[in-house]
């Protein structure tokens, strides 16, 4: 599988985590994902479009998310991404890892 060939670096892993988490609240299109991340993080995290779309397509091929064309309420064609079961599992794993990492970093910071 793809995992074997490409070791996800920390930043990319973070983007995947953010996207998967956003999608776990329900299907969304690329713009919506970016906007959600930005507003929820109080404008601190700004997702670059140049990274977002390649990541979406990659995750689609990995089977974590699926995509479908749909009309939005103001009658535009948008590509809606939806979390799959494999994606949900992935999200849980990543979230666990992230929590562990944050805890570890926090400990080190407090200790120092």
């Amino acid at each position: 599988m793809l995992r074997r060939h490409r070791k996800p670096d920390a930043l990319q892993g973070t983007l995947d985590l953010l996207v998967l988490k956003t999608l776990s609240c329900g299907p969304h299109h690329g713009y919506g994902i970016a906007a959600d991340i930005q507003s929820i993080s109080d404008d601190i995290l700004r997702v670059e479009e140049g990274s977002l779309y390649p990541a979406l397509h990659r995750m689609e091929h990995l089977g974590w998310i699926t995509a479908e064309w749909q009309m939005t309420e103001n009658n535009r064609r948008a590509r809606l991404y939806k979390l799959t079961r494999a994606g949900q599992r992935r999200l849980d794993e990543e979230q666990l890892k992230w929590d562990r990492l944050m805890k570890a970093v926090g400990k080190v910071l407090r200790f120092a």
Binding site: L2, H5, H29, G30, Y31, G32, A34, A35, E48, E49, G50, Y53, P54, A55, L56, H57, R58, H61, W69, T72, N74, R76, R77, A78, R79
Partner: protein, 882 residues
């Protein structure tokens, strides 16, 4: 077809998809900014800036897509290779079937490319080249074109870029101490420039070298002669070479790989047409509008269609008709695509190659059906694997893609093998064609990129044919059903059985058609062989004696001819001997002339013509052509006596309407001749020609020193040859006879097209039969294997061995019967394609159909009887328990 969409999507769709996606993103962002109070234009600009470079993002997105596709492909390929490796028997059989199918196709494609489509290596722009012949209103067939007409066409045409005039000729070449016959060509001076092939040494012909009687004894030689005879001597230019008895100055050497522009022969030398008289035994035709001998090509200007050029040339020909009614009444000009060229072997091989194409495509279909069947058998064995993969969530599309990849692997291996086969077969046509007096034959297959591309296409198409159906069927597994036991089938009731049966039906019917075709052609060849040409084929030998190139003047030649006949007739075992300008059925062309007959009025726009042979005394009796009335020529019919002629029955029927022509007169080329004999109509050029009026005139009164010599004797050529050479050398040690062969051999050489077709159809028909039998066997064997439980049950319930035998056999033979019925319907339609290759055999000949039926029935019986016998060996106890 999810995988297809996804596959193509990887390359095309995502591009658009991404554009749409990006547009939506930017639109949404613009809306956001407008809501924040920005002016719409400004908002759009800001949104675009924010998005960044769409191109870069698009590329990176597509990279993600492409990576996935390549990754899948690599995984599928690796997996397919492992699967093929795991069942080597299956893989070998499948690849072998496909190799034969693809190889046969590649070979025929390469022949069609090398002989019909791009026959002339190194010649540029062959797609704008067209062959030119003359036509004669009211007479079938084609004629050549006279040189004056050729020049008029050239002068008046605006749509033709170049007129490339030539005529095949030959000469004896002495290479070292042996003499060889070499074929060459008389060409117009623009020849080498017009075909775009330039000498590697020296020059081509210069303007003006194609005019004047024997005025320019110069020659351009082939690379092969240069190497063999002159050992690649760079100083060969300016040396002389004797051709047709006259020293010619060598002015150029052609590049390696150039063989001239005549399908069938590799030319060794070229001379300008001005040397025509020298090569035609002194008969000067260059200024004679009535002598039609040029066989040429035109290269059309770019953008001109053959119809436009034809219209223009026909217009010029019509003008020539009114300007020169004596020679040109009824004469037209016709253009031909190269692959239909009537004056070389392209036209003769066209139907053969057409049939070959149909045959090899059928063989490929049969091979595909076989491999499809094998894949189905294996699919059955892999049902568990597929079921597991499906139940753990693989998409059906993925499975189909996987199976197609396996199919593609098979056909790629087969294609590689097929090219090896095609490469072996490149010269098969030349080997099947009888040699003609040592002249270099050239009928090559050409494996160029077009052939490769076509084969790749065939390969892909056949993969889809043989792999798609099994793949779809396999992936379409009823999961619940598959979990049940898999050995509980009943004969003929398996879900996939009908597909396999259909494949066998197709195979049997196709093989039936091929066998019928083979039967028809064999019967036709026999009919051709046993057809009487109207002269004796047994006990007559033919050779040639060329006194003209040996330097004889006509008077001395006449004396030597007479003396040689006397000497030969004195040899024990020789009944008679006679000279003639031409041996029937040889590749030379008869003299032809406009004729006039008292009391016969041709339609005003037609000019009656007849071919004639110039013959010596005793020719008709030597050849065994019966005289119906009158007498043969004698030595008294010489140049001082009254001009005489003998006509054949076809001429008598046409010009004298059945009345006895003996004692009347006929005008040939403006000279009135007294008719002294009526000969039975014979065949003159080949066995399947339609009869046309034919005349004989005395050789003495229409002299040629280049002649054929016919000898009636019970001896074979090998036995007579020493005596013949001895007698000729007694007269002149410098004269040698050409090849001495029987008239049977001479006749057989004209049936090459039929024989090649027969060979190809028999070989491939047999191959098809074997493949179909294997297919039938496979289906029956699988049926038996899958229904052991049912068979065992029947046995346990009291069925005996013969019941089971009958059960299995009847299923197999029912398939055969169905296939034969389909084949019968197809064959009724298809055999008409054989066209002129069928001689005295109807396309629905009952014998051919009957024998095809018997052969197929026998083959399928054998294919069914083994599995049926195995069925009777079923051990009921073990089968029911297992």
């Amino acid at each position: 077809m999810g995988w297809l969409r996804r596959l193509s999507g990887s390359f095309t769709r995502t591009g658009h998809d991404f554009d749409d996606e990006a547009r939506f993103h930017i639109d949404a962002r613009t809306d956001e900014y407008v809501q924040d109070g920005m002016d719409p234009d400004e908002a759009r600009q800001a949104a675009l800036r924010r998005f960044g470079s769409t191109t870069v993002t698009k590329e990176r997105t597509q990279d993600a897509d492409m990576f996935k596709w390549i990754h899948d492909l690599r995984r599928d390929t690796g997996y397919a290779l492992r699967m093929l490796w795991r069942s080597p028997g299956f893989s070998f059989l499948a690849i072998l079937c496909l190799t034969l199918g693809i190889g046969a196709n590649a070979a025929v494609f390469s022949w069609i490319e090398g002989i019909l489509l791009r026959p002339y290596p190194l010649v540029v722009d062959q797609d704008r080249l067209f062959a030119v012949t003359g036509t004669n209103r009211g007479a079938p067939g084609n004629s050549d074109v006279s040189w004056p007409d050729w020049l008029e066409l050239q002068r008046n045409s605006t749509r033709v870029e170049a007129f490339i005039g030539e005529k095949i000729t030959g000469s004896t070449l002495s290479i070292g101490d042996r003499a060889e016959r070499a074929s060459g060509s008389m060409v117009s001076a623009n020849y080498f420039d017009a075909i775009g092939v330039h000498p590697i040494l020296g020059r081509g012909f210069e303007p003006g070298e194609d005019s004047g009687r024997n005025a320019h004894p110069v020659t351009v030689i082939s690379y092969q002669i240069w190497q063999e005879r002159f050992r690649g001597d760079p100083a060969v230019i300016g040396k002389t070479q004797v051709l047709a008895g006259l020293p010619h100055t060598i002015v150029g050497v052609m590049p390696n790989g150039f063989y001239g522009t005549f399908v069938g022969y590799a030319f060794q030398f070229w001379v300008p047409v001005s040397m025509q008289a020298q090569f035609d035994a002194g008969v000067y035709k260059l200024e004679d509008r009535g002598s039609r001998w040029i066989e040429g090509y035109v290269r059309l200007k770019p953008g001109v269609t053959i119809e436009q050029a034809q219209a223009e040339l026909s217009g010029i020909a019509a003008r020539l008709e009114t300007d020169y009614p004596d020679t040109n009444r009824g004469r037209g000009i016709r253009l031909w695509p190269l692959w239909q060229t009537p004056f070389n072997n392209a036209g003769a091989l066209l139907p053969t190659l057409g049939i070959s194409l149909v045959v090899v495509l059928s063989v490929l279909l049969i091979a595909c059906a076989n491999v499809g069947n094998l894949l189905l058998v294996r699919a059955f064995a892999r049902q568990q694997e597929m079921t597991i993969r499906l139940s753990v969530g693989a998409g059906r599309g993925r499975l189909v893609k996987q199976l197609l990849t396996e199919g593609l692997m098979l056909s790629m291996f087969a294609a590689a093998g097929g090219f090896v086969v095609a490469n072996w077969l490149r010269n098969a046509l030349a080997l099947l064609t009888p040699p003609r007096g040592g002249v270099l034959l050239r009928l090559p297959g050409e494996l160029d990129w077009r052939v490769l591309a076509l084969c790749a296409g065939v390969c892909l198409a056949s993969t889809l044919l043989f792999a798609l159906v099994p793949a779809v069927l396999t992936s379409n597994i009823d999961l619940a059903g598959a979990l049940r036991s898999e050995s509980g089938g009943v004969v003929g009731s398996r879900s996939r059985a009908w597909v396999r049966s259909t494949l066998v039906l197709v195979q049997v019917s196709l093989s039936f058609v091929l066998l019928v075709g083979a039967g028809l052609l064999i019967k036709s060849l026999q009919a051709v062989r046993s057809a009487s040409p109207g002269f004796s084929t047994e006990g007559v030998l033919a050779t040639g004696v060329d006194l003209f190139t040996a330097g004889y003047d006509p008077q001395r030649a006449k004396n030597v001819q007479d003396e040689l006949v006397d000497r030969l007739q004195a040899i024990g075992g020789v009944e008679s001997a006679a000279f003639a300008r031409m041996t029937p059925f040889s590749y030379r062309t008869y003299s032809t002339a406009p004729i006039a007959v008292d009391g016969y009025d041709a339609p005003p726009d037609q000019q009656p013509t007849a071919d004639y042979n110039e013959i010596g005394p005793g020719y008709l009796s030597t050849m065994g052509i019966p005289l119906v009335a009158g007498r043969e020529f004698t030595r008294a019919d010489n140049e001082t006596a009254q001009l005489v002629a003998i006509v054949d029955e076809t001429a008598a029927a046409q010009f004298w309407r059945g009345a006895d022509p003996v004692g009347r007169r006929v005008q040939v080329r403006g000279r009135w001749m007294q008719i002294v004999g009526l000969a039975r109509t014979a065949k003159y050029r080949n066995l399947i020609e339609t009869p046309r009026p034919f005349l004989y005139v005395p050789l003495r009164q229409n002299f040629s020193a280049t002649t054929a010599l016919l000898i009636r004797t019970a001896q074979g050529p090998a036995a007579l040859r020493p005596a013949l050479v001895r007698e000729i050398h007694a007269l002149d040690p410098n004269v040698a006879p050409s090849e001495l062969i029987t008239m049977r051999e001479q006749v057989d050489r004209t049936t090459a097209a039929q024989r090649i077709s027969v060979t190809i159809l028999v070989v491939f028909g047999g191959l098809a039969l074997v493949l179909a039998a294997i297919g039938l066997y496979g289906v029956m064997a699988a049926t038996v294997a899958q229904s052991t439980r049912e068979l065992a049950l029947r046995m346990a319930l009291g069925a005996n061995a013969s019941d089971l035998l009958r059960l299995v056999l009847s299923k197999g033979l029912a398939l055969t019967a169905g296939g034969i019925v389909l084949g019968l319907i197809a064959a009724f339609q298809a055999t008409r394609l054989l066209g002129y290759l069928l001689y005295k055999v109807g396309p629905r000949d009952p014998l051919a159909f009957g024998s095809a039926f018997v052969v197929i029935a026998l083959a399928s019986f054998i294919a069914c009887v083994v599995p049926a016998w195995r069925a009777t060996r079923t051990d009921p106890l073990r089968a029911l328990r297992g």
